[in-house]
Structures are given as structure tokens and as C-alpha cells.
């Protein structure tokens, strides 16, 4: 017995929504970074489920576009996390805080 792709789509949509909500609601930069990772992985899950759905529909050959996309996303997510954490360190050196509430020098 296997899980139908539609269930995985729903799970991914839920993960994306949790990530997006966390992005707007949480004030700690590190937690916000984690929320972004959650959203990226929701996209990965959708890619893999869609690839399986298309493979099941056509049957002849596995559809590899989705998995390959997901591999590139994993690499780029690592790059983004590296740069993001570097910026967080730069912020901490300047202000001794990682809370977004204290990052508001630039405004009208």
C-alpha cells in the first residue's frame, strides 16, 4: 500500500502555511530562518509528490524533473542559510541582539 500523492500535496501545503505564518509572526531571526527552511522543504515535497504523480500517470519512465529540482533546492537552501547566518552574526556584533523588534533604524 502506498500513500497517494494528493495526501503529500496537502502535507506540503500545510508545511508551507506553517512556515509562512511563522515568518510573519516570529521575532527571533534564527526562528525566522528556520521558517524559511520549512517553506523550501514544503516546495521540495511538492516537487517529489508531483514527480511521482506524473510517473504513475505515464508509467513508462520515471519523471526526473522534480527530484532534480529538489536536489538543486537543497544546495541553494544551504547557500542561503550560510549567508543568512553570516548576516545574523554581523547583526549581533553591531547590536548584541537577534530580535527583529530591535532592527528598525531605517524607516520613514
Amino acid at each position: 500500500m502506498s500513500v497517494p500523492p494528493s495526501h503529500i500535496f496537502l502535507l506540503a501545503a500545510l508545511l508551507f502555511a506553517i512556515g509562512a505564518a511563522g515568518f510573519f509572526l516570529r521575532r527571533n531571526v534564527i526562528v525566522v530562518l528556520m521558517c524559511i527552511e520549512l517553506m523550501l522543504n514544503a516546495a521540495n515535497l511538492t516537487f517529489l509528490a508531483a514527480s511521482r504523480m506524473h510517473t504513475l500517470a505515464h508509467g513508462a519512465r520515471p519523471d526526473l524533473q522534480g527530484p532534480i529540482f529538489a536536489i538543486f533546492v537543497i544546495v541553494i537552501a544551504a547557500v542561503e542559510a550560510a549567508v543568512g547566518l553570516a548576516l545574523v552574526i554581523a547583526l549581533y556584533r553591531n547590536k548584541q541582539t537577534v530580535s527583529l523588534d530591535d532592527v528598525a533604524d531605517l524607516k520613514d
Binding site: G19, F69, V73, L106
Partner: protein, 487 residues
Amino acid sequence: MSPQLLQQLFTADALWALAPLIALCLGAMLVLLSDILPGTAGLRRPLFLLTIAAAAYGAVHGFGAPEGTYMMGSFHHSHALSAWTVIFLLSGLIAFEFGQRYYKEEARFLAEHDVLMLTSLAGMVMMAGAADLLAFFIGLETLSVPLYTLAGFRRARSDSVEAGLKYFMLGAFAAAMFLYGAALVYAATGTISIEDMSGMGSTLTEPLALAGFALIVGSLFFKISVFPFHLWVPDVYQGAPTPVTAFMATGTKAAGFAFLLTLMGQNLASGKPVLPESAAWIVGWIAVITMAAGNLGALVQTDLKRMLAYSGVAHAGTMLLAIAAGWHDTEPHGAQTALLFYMAAYVFTAGGAFGLLAWMESEGGEVTIESLKGLSARRPMLAAAMAVFMLSLGGIPPLGGFWGKYLVFSCAVRADMIPLAVIGVLMSVIALGYYLKVIVAMYMQPQTQSHSAGISPRLAAAVATGVCALVVVALGMLPSWVLERLG
């Protein structure tokens, strides 16, 4: 990988199509090497200029090369791509020249600055030439990640770090939005190739595909700073080092619009838009609201950098009008031509204005309307150049900015979007309010603040300012010369 496959992939045509990209990547590595190897620090500037020249040679060669799709359908070479590449390179070159002596305590990291800029340029070329969603995503990130770092480049200053962090957070959110959208589109259509999608007809208007395209376009709206994703622009543009702001305001915007044109089918062989026709008026109204948001925001600013940031939002709105007209335009490549010309003028105008700002800032701190008073008496040439840039941004004939606006509004008129064109023209009149404020301050009001000895002459910045101002005037005098070459 079999040798036959390699031979199919790396044909001479494919290599020429990718030449600007290859040149930029190689150049970035060489500049990085010059930073590491002992005794080669002096090579930084020549290597950067050489890289830009090599990439420009590749782009110019591309004007004569056949159009086509390479690298297993992921990269599409067109003559428009060559034109976009030239625009990106000019944007990078202008930002580079104005950045030469802008940095003080960070000056020893300049090689890294240049490497990041070249990498970002490679990302722009990739974005503009992408023919599938994966190639576009890699281009987008290759463009964005170096820019996050560049925005926070003055890492000892909290406003620069804040700008970098804000740009990063919203950029990463937009990237996640794009990815989820791409995944939904892939689920609905079974392909990531934009060319394949354009022939799918009714599959593209299924709810899943529509949701996917909405997310993709939303993330592009973030990159080109369009309402409601424009709120980060003033903060990030103000906090980032000014040469980087010049680069972000011109190059990034151009790359985003180039890919929007791909989604509208104007960069592809099929020529059919992938985005559904029903979006035309929605995009049109978003364009008009963006103009209003940008102009109203700019009217109340006294800090020139922040004012130019809001003005950039208004310009993005104007350019988006050409995209909105793309579905019903009677000329098949009307939007492409209009945006190429608009962007060509905008690179020199906004690049020059931000560059001039960088030059003045590195002498006397923040530039406000107050500190500009009496500039024409202190530095007549500088004030004249600034006046040219402001008038061109405001769309006064006979300067380059006027023809850009004219072409965009005529797209809207051809597509029967006359109310939007009328509002757009009215918005340009409102915009004159703040552009003229700068000119009035420079020419008609006496100096109120004391200034140090004045702005020291700098060859690179002076030449760049002069060239930008001359090109803006030339584009206004001879628009047909450029338009003939564009298409």
C-alpha cells in the same frame, strides 16, 4: 555522460550563446585569485574591466548569432537577451566605477566586492536567458545571494547590516514563494520548461497552475519592487552602500523584467504568453497603484537616497504597464522593445543619479534637499549632471527617460488600456513635483549649510557621471538609432 551527448550539448553555437555567462564566471574566479595570490592585488581593477569587456564582446556577438534553445532546453538565446546582457553589464560597470573610492574601512575587501558583483551579473544573465523554471531559480539565487552580502557590505555600520538582513529575509521568502509556485505549476503541467508550457492551452488555467503562476509572479514582483511587495525598497536602498543601491535599482530590476517578458512569451520561439490572459487588467491596476505608492512616498522625503528609492518603485510601476499591455498589444514584441529602451535609459539615469549621490556622500555624509541648496554655485558641473538625471527620471523631453515613458504608454494605448495610460501620464506629472524640488534646491535657493572644501575631483566618478549624462541626452536626441537596433 556519453561523448555524443557532450558533443550535442557543447556545440559552437551553444558556447557562443553562453559566452557572457562563461566570461563573467571565469572573471569572478580570476578576481578572487588576484586577491589570494601575493603581489597581484593591482590586477583587480583591470581584471574586472576585462571581464566586463569579454562578456560584452560575447553579447555583441550574440546579436549576429542564430536564436535558439541550448543546454537541453534550459537556456534560450535571443537577440533581446544580448540587449539585456548589455544593459546588465552597463549597470555593473556604472556601479563599479562609482564604487571605486566610496568605501573607506572596507577598502581592503574590495576584491570580494567585485567578485560578488560579477557573480550577481552572471545570475542576471542566467535569469534573462532562462527557458525553464530551474534555470531561472538558479539564476535568481546567483543574483540574490551576492546582493544580500553586498547590501550588508559595510558590516561595521548597523544600517548597512540591517539593510542586508531585511533584503535577505524578504528575498529568501520570495525565493520560497517562487519555489512553491514552481512546484505547483510542475504538478499541474508535468513540465518545468516554459516553452512546453506555452503550448498547453487550457491546462494553464487550471486552479493549481493559476495558484502556481500567482506565486511565481508574486516573487518576481518582489524583485522588481512592485506593490504590494515594495515596502522593503526604501529601507534597503537607504541602508545599502550607495554604489550597490545603484546596481540593485537598475540591474536587478532589469533581470526581473527580462524574465517577466519570458513568461509573456516574448523571449521564446513560440511567442505565446504562459501567464493567463485574464490577468491583464489585474497587472495593469497593480502597475498604476505601484506608480501611486512610489510617487506619494517620494513626495514627502527629504533624504535624496530615500526619495530616489521611492522613485524607483514608481518607475517599476510604469514598466509593469508594458507587461500588462503585452497580452493585447498589436505589435508582437512591443513590450520587449519598450522595456529594453526604458531600461537602457534608466540604467544611465538612475545609475548616474545614485552614483553622483555616492560621490557626494563619501565627502559630506547624507545628501538631503537641505544640503543640496546652492549646489549650482559650488559645483556647477555636478549640479548640471544631477539636473539632467532628475529631468530624465521625470520624463521631460528631449531626454532618454521621456522616450521610455512614451514607448510604454503607447504599448498601453495599443492594447486598449487607455484609462491606465491616462493615469500613468498623470502620475508622471505628480512625479515632477519631487524631481523639480531637487532642481529648485540646487539652482534657486541659497546655501544654508556650511560645506567643507567641496567635493574632491575623482577621475573615475567624474568620467562616469559625464558619460551617463551624455548618454541620457543622446538617447533622448536619437531614440530611433537605438530602436532600429533593438528590433
